[in-house]
Amino acid sequence: MPKSIPADSVGLVTEQSLIFDEPLELISGRTLSSYKLVFETYGELNSNGTNALLICHALSSDHHAAGYHNMDDKKPGWWDSCIGPGKPFDTNNFFIVCPNNLGGCKGSSGPNQPNPETGKLYGPDFPIVTVKDWVNSQQRLMLALGIKQWAAVIGGSLGGMQVIQWAIDYPSSLKHALVIASAPHLSAQNIAFNEVARQAIRTDPNFHDGHYYEHNTIPSTGLKLARMLGHITYLSDDAMRAKFDRDLSDEGFSYNYNYDVEFQVESYLRHQAQSFVDRFDANTYLLMTKLLDYFDPAADYDNDLAKAFSHIQARFLVASFTSDWRFAPTRSREIVKALIDAKRHVSYAEIDAPHGHDAFLMPIPYYIEVLNAYMRRVSDEVNA
C-alpha cells in the first residue's frame, strides 16, 4: 500500500473502456462482430493530437501500466518504473495509452468475457487472435481517441512484437518504434517452452476443454506449472543464484528428505504461481502463447524481414539485455540487421544487466538513460 503517492507517479488512475461495433475480420478467418477494449491513459493529449504514446503489453500484463487504482494497492502498474512525470515516458510531455489486448483477461473482449451474441462467457470459443489483429484493434482505438499519429509505439517482449507489426502495417501512423527485449519471431526453443506450458494447462483435469467456468473451477495446477516454467525462462541463472542460491526456506540448516518446499527457489516459484492463478486466466494464457508462436511478420514478405521493413517510416530504437536468454540479444540484432539492410533509421543498445528477460521492467541506469535520451528527441520533435 502506498502511504502516499510518490511525486514521480501518475497517481490514482481509473480504467476506461470503449466498445467497437464495426466487425473485426481476424487473420484466422473468423470475425469479432463487436469487441470491447479496456485501457488506461496518463497525461494529456495536445490540441493537434501528436503527443500520444502507445504502450503495448506483454504476455502476462495488462492495461494497468502505471499508477495506482486505489490507496490499498500493494504495487503500482507494471511499467511504473518508466511511466510518470520526469520518467522516460514523461506524462508532462506525452499522452500515454495502454490497452488490454483482445483475448486478455482484464476486461477487454476475451475468453472470460461474455460473447455479445450468446450472452455466455466465450471460454475456449474466443477466436485465437494474432499480433496483426491486436494492431488492427489498437488502430481503431487510436482513431477513437482522436490521435492522428503515435509519437511512438513502445513495447517489451511480446509488446515489442506489436511495435514491429505497427511499423509494418501502419507505416504512417507512428513516428518512432521502441522494441525492447523482443524478437522477430519465436525460435523452436521458445515454441517448445510454450507447448509445455499449454500441455500443463490442457491436461489439468479441471480444464474441461476450456469450459472450466461452467464447472466453477479453474485448471490451477496446470496454470501454476505453466507460470513456473515461464518464470524460470524470464530470469537468468545468475539472477536466480544471486536471489536464492541454494538457501533453504525455513531457517533450518538440514534437509528434510521429503518433497515439501525446502529450497527458497521452490518457495518463490510456488508463490509466483499462486499469485498468477489469482490474477490470470488459463484460456488467455493458452491464446497468448499461441499468438506468440504465430508471430512472424517476415512470412508475408518471402521470409525476408528486410523486405518487410522496406516501406516502414518509423525510426527504431531496439534494446536488449545481455543475460536475457528468452529473447537474447542475438534476436534483437536480427531486427537491427534487417532495418540496416532496409536502410531504415535504427539505434541499438545492448544493456549489460544480470536480471534476464525481466530486465526490461527494471530501472537499470544505462537503460533508463538510453530511453530518456531517445524520448527527449521524440518530445522535441512533437514540440518543434
Binding site: 530504437l317 540484432r333 537491427v336 540487421k337 540496416i340 539492410d341 536502410k343 533509421h345 535504427v346 539505434s347 541499438y348 543498445a349 545492448e350 544493456i351 549489460d352 544505462y366 538513460e369 538510453v370 535520451a373 531517445y374 527527449r376 528527441r377
Partner: protein
C-alpha cells in the same frame, strides 16, 4: 559546427553529400551529426561505450552498440558509400581483418591513425629508450588501448599487399593542422595519418 574536431572536419571534405555512411567507433556521434545536418548524409555509427551511445542518441544519430573486434558480419557487401574508422585501427585485435571488412562493406574506406613513424616518437625510443608518449599517443605502455600501432609505410605496405588502392592521403599534426614539409617527409613529420582508399577490382 565550429566545435567539430578538426580531424572530423578534414574527413567531412572527403564525403559526398547525400551518401550512405557507416562510422566505426563513432564516439559521441558528432561527425555523423554534422554530416547529417549539413550534407544530407544518412547512416549509422558503431560504438561500444554506453556513455557514447547515450550521447549519440541525444545527438539524434543512429548508433548501434557493437564490438568492432567481432567484425562487420551483420553488414551486407557494398552497403555503404563510405565506411569511416577514425583513430580506431590501432586499438583493434585484428586491424588487417577489419580493414578488409571496411572495404567489403563500403565502396570506400576512410581511415585515420596515429603515425608511429613520427620523428619525435623515433627519438624517444632511440635516445630515451622508453616507449614513446606524445600528444597523439598520450597513454603509457601498460594502459594504452593502442595495441597495433603502425607507421605510414606499414599501412601503405599492407594496402599494397592486400590489393587496396589509396585514393587520397592527408598527413597532419596531432591537432589535425597541416605540417610544413609533410609532402617531402610524411612518415617522419606526420603525427596523424588520414587515408581514403578502395578495393581494387
Amino acid at each position: 559546427m565550429s566545435e567539430l574536431r578538426s580531424d572530423l572536419s578534414l574527413i567531412r571534405q572527403w564525403i559526398k553529400p547525400g551518401s550512405h555512411v557507416l562510422d566505426l567507433g563513432c564516439g559521441d556521434g558528432k561527425l555523423l551529426q554534422a554530416l547529417q545536418e549539413e550534407q544530407g548524409v544518412e547512416g549509422y555509427g558503431l560504438e561500444i561505450d554506453p556513455k557514447n551511445i547515450t550521447q549519440c542518441i541525444h545527438n539524434g544519430v543512429n548508433v548501434i552498440q557493437a564490438d568492432l573486434d567481432a567484425g562487420l558480419s551483420d553488414f551486407a557487401c557494398q552497403a555503404f558509400d563510405y565506411v569511416i574508422m577514425t583513430q580506431t585501427l590501432q586499438a583493434l585485435h585484428f586491424p588487417d581483418q577489419l580493414l578488409e571488412e571496411v572495404l567489403r562493406v563500403g565502396r570506400e574506406g576512410i581511415v585515420t591513425f596515429p603515425n608511429f613513424g613520427n620523428w619525435r616518437i623515433r627519438l624517444q625510443l632511440a635516445l630515451g629508450g622508453r616507449m614513446p608518449v606524445s600528444k597523439a599517443l598520450p597513454s603509457t605502455w601498460y594502459n594504452t588501448l593502442n595495441i597495433h600501432l603502425c607507421t605510414l609505410k606499414d599501412f601503405e605496405a599492407l594496402c599494397q599487399q592486400r590489393n587496396i588502392k589509396i585514393l587520397e592521403r592527408s598527413v597532419v599534426d596531432y591537432a589535425y593542422q597541416p605540417i610544413a614539409g609533410h609532402s617531402l617527409l610524411p612518415n617522419l613529420l606526420g603525427e596523424i595519418a588520414t587515408y581514403r582508399c578502395t578495393r581494387l577490382p
